[in-house]
Subunit: 454 residues, 2 copies
């Protein structure tokens, strides 16, 4: 009998707590500032937008936070998720390194987004909220919220970035099947959307714009709250279930990663797998590298600046200390819609600044090439976003081979690409737009904002 | 701690043998006949089309056949598959019955078809075949073969039923991503296709036509063989891994089904889950019902006749003793493309004739309604084909409730509907074609063929 191909855990082995890295960070992040007063905000400033339990999690310094039974209950429909040894991929590239991946696409939403969608819908329902508004890029987050809201009896209104709405009609239909309403953004429904459309009727939209629209609607009704799929501390917190499981699974495999890799949009799938491993480094001195991979066309971590910036385009969110390309930056229309975000979450930004995390940027074509190789060897068609993590893992394996060493690589396969198949068609046709943002373009983007340096 | 939501098995618990029901059937099926001589065929008559090991399996009377290590190895990428207790669905309909489902959509192909695709590709490769031709309806089978052939280093040419090719571009693209060539059928590549197109240039195609085209190409080259995704004994055999696992899982759940349900196209997913349970009835006297659910627009089991008929439209296959609507019957363009087949496999046909199996037919709209309810409660968007099994399970639960009893129901959720999302759009628009075939239409269809009564 050969070694198991996949490392699975029983429901009983599923961790019952999320891990909050804030407790263990040597330098705590700077506080968020009020958009008008530019003074540090308190929990009450967020109460119009989020339920109190999520606000508490946003600022909590507790190391572990219990996962409520109702959330565990829905997690049990798809968790624990498997870790695979990518033996066919290893063979295809002839590497001496070992490549593992944690697969988060095997749930109703097709990505890791379900982990926080379920938690957010639960806390909103518990506090009497009736309707949620949110944004979505490629649609993974919107799909995740659709089913979760429907499960807990909440209405959902999704502002979907227009370029993705047009590229990926399947994702919109999936949200409809899960009982959500989906509107392409920018839309005429909001002042923020109308302003953008006045300036540019052909605007492809961006996550920043969609966030502005969703927040604007939420602020108009006390029974409506807003929900965000990445960036914020409480979102990152919920995703740590991924890494908590992966730690147990790597131990079961009798192995330990030299490097943990995730693609990077706002930070949630990367942080989810990486932070529990970073805890082992911070608290127990484990030697491990953490690597993010972002698009060269939206390189906030590799070329952005560490500033106080808004999370949305219209400037409605608090100012957050983050690596950013500027809140009104509109990224190239790459197919990895979930990575088309101007900024990075506060926790990741601080950790990058302090040297605990590495970042690299890659071109879309090379990532799709890695995605097709992965599909043909491992049998899972990856989401365009996830192909960046695959490409990052291949880089690490090849580098190790050149150096004559064998490494153990773990990456997060954040989702499947079943609703992104038209992007693969473009790849096969040799018809993928791509662009490596130049330093001059970054300067220009950042010159449009005038905000305090963090 | 609540009862586990899903019943999973470790790789070590995966059965290492397929189950061959032929060994235990009270009445053995009549022999297949040569299309020209109408005499019983021998293994040598199939050698131009199939590798010898599959021909041996086709006629074997051994009760168990070992699964080769190379096949087990790929099975381990996604097997054992989970059995879920459908607790949210039960709650939504307020039933006292217990509903379980075995989910076969969690693999690279998105359906149970991978189970036989891997086996068939393996045996072909082992016997020196270089290229495979096959047909596909909705594309689940073609996707399954694409990855399997690529894995074993075989070329694949897929004739895809034209209506599905046009309805489901995503499936075609997935096959391309897995390195297969896909041609809409009827095509100009074959004499069979050209003949159909001459008579009806707008022909939507059918599985029967696509089979004729694929066989025609295979017969022209000794290094090319043909592969079928359902109907035949060896295909059914490979699918019994489903029921073999489900037996262990139901035992783990401390439960036993009163009825096992599968949707019905050619018979492979139904037989796969049902036959190991039927063995328990035949050998150990277990009391259990086995129910197939087919489309009212393609009702071979409920309205067809038990005849010797061809498996394909052009009459190239052996004559098989089967329930059929006639090999040139073109079914309504329902979205469950995998159920648009004129006949039923020999094993199921004989067992239905002998009263071991029940059959019912349902309309497309009601099945989609069941599918949407399932998606919103259980969180898996089902393939249109699988919605027939769901609708059948709901019928059983409701009937039990009306009778004031509680039943244990197990159905096979054969695949996901990620590439069928446009069919759901049609459902929501109230725009699904549907048709219940009348007795007169069945008579007319059967009058077009003149074949020996089995």
């Amino acid at each position: 009998m050969k070694r198991s191909r996949k490392i699975i855990l029983s429901e009983k082995e599923m961790p019952r707590q999320w891990y909050n890295i804030l407790a263990d960070m040597p330098n705590k992040p700077l506080p968020p500032l009020h958009p008008a007063t530019r003074q540090p905000i308190g929990p009450e400033d967020l109460a119009a937008v989020f339920p109190m339990e999520l606000i508490k999690q946003e600022v909590s310094a507790e190391r572990y936070i219990d996962i409520p039974d109702e959330v565990v209950d829905l997690y049990r429909t798809y968790r624990p998720s498997p870790v695979y040894r990518a033996e066919y991929l290893e063979k295809a590239i002839g590497t001496k390194s070992k490549i593992y991946y944690k697969y988060e696409g095997g749930n109703y939403s097709g990505s890791h987004k379900a982990n926080t969608a379920i938690a957010q819908a639960y806390y909103n329902k518990k506090e009497g909220v009736r309707r949620i508004t949110t944004e979505t890029g490629a649609g993974q987050w919107g799909s995740a919220m659709s089913f979760a809201c429907n499960h807990f009896g909440l209405e959902l209104l999704v502002f979907m970035v227009k370029v993705s709405y047009n590229h990926k009609p399947g994702r919109k239909l999936l949200m409809n099947a899960y009982n959500a309403r989906v509107v392409p953004s920018p839309s005429m429904m909001t002042a923020a959307g109308r302003k953008i459309l006045e300036e540019d009727p052909e605007s492809p939209g961006s996550l920043g714009i969609a966030i502005s629209e969703a927040m604007e609607v939420a602020l108009q009704d006390p029974y409506t709250k807003y929900s965000l799929g990445s960036v914020l501390n409480h979102v990152i917190l919920h995703q740590t279930i991924i890494g908590q499981e992966a730690l147990i699974q790597m131990e079961k495999a009798g192995d330990y990663p030299d490097v943990v890799i995730g693609c990077f949009g706002g930070g949630s799938n990367f942080s989810g797998i990486a932070f529990p491993f970073l805890r082992e480094r911070l608290l127990n001195g484990k030697n491990i590298r953490l690597l993010t991979v972002e698009p060269a066309s939206c390189p906030k971590l590799t070329k952005g600046k560490f500033l106080y910036d808004f999370g949305d385009t219209a400037g409605m969110t608090p100012l957050l200390p983050m690596y950013t390309l500027g809140h009104n930056f509109i990224p190239e229309k790459i197919h990895a819609g979930g990575l088309r975000y101007h900024g990075a979450g506060v926790l990741v930004s601080q950790l990058l600044k302090d040297g605990f995390i590495e970042a690299k940027a890659k071109m879309q074509r090379e990532c799709f090439e890695a995605g097709v190789l992965f599909a043909r060897t491992e049998g899972i068609l990856p989401a365009p976003e996830s192909t960046y993590a695959i490409a990052g893992a291949l880089d690490e394996a090849r580098k190790a081979d050149l150096e004559g060493v064998s490494k153990t690589i773990l990456f997060n396969l954040s989702g499947h690409g079943h609703f992104d198949i038209s992007a693969y068609e473009k790849y096969f046709e040799g018809n993928l737009p791509d662009h490596e943002l130049t330093d001059a373009e970054v300067e220009e983007a950042l010159s449009k904002i005038n905000l305090p340096v963090a």
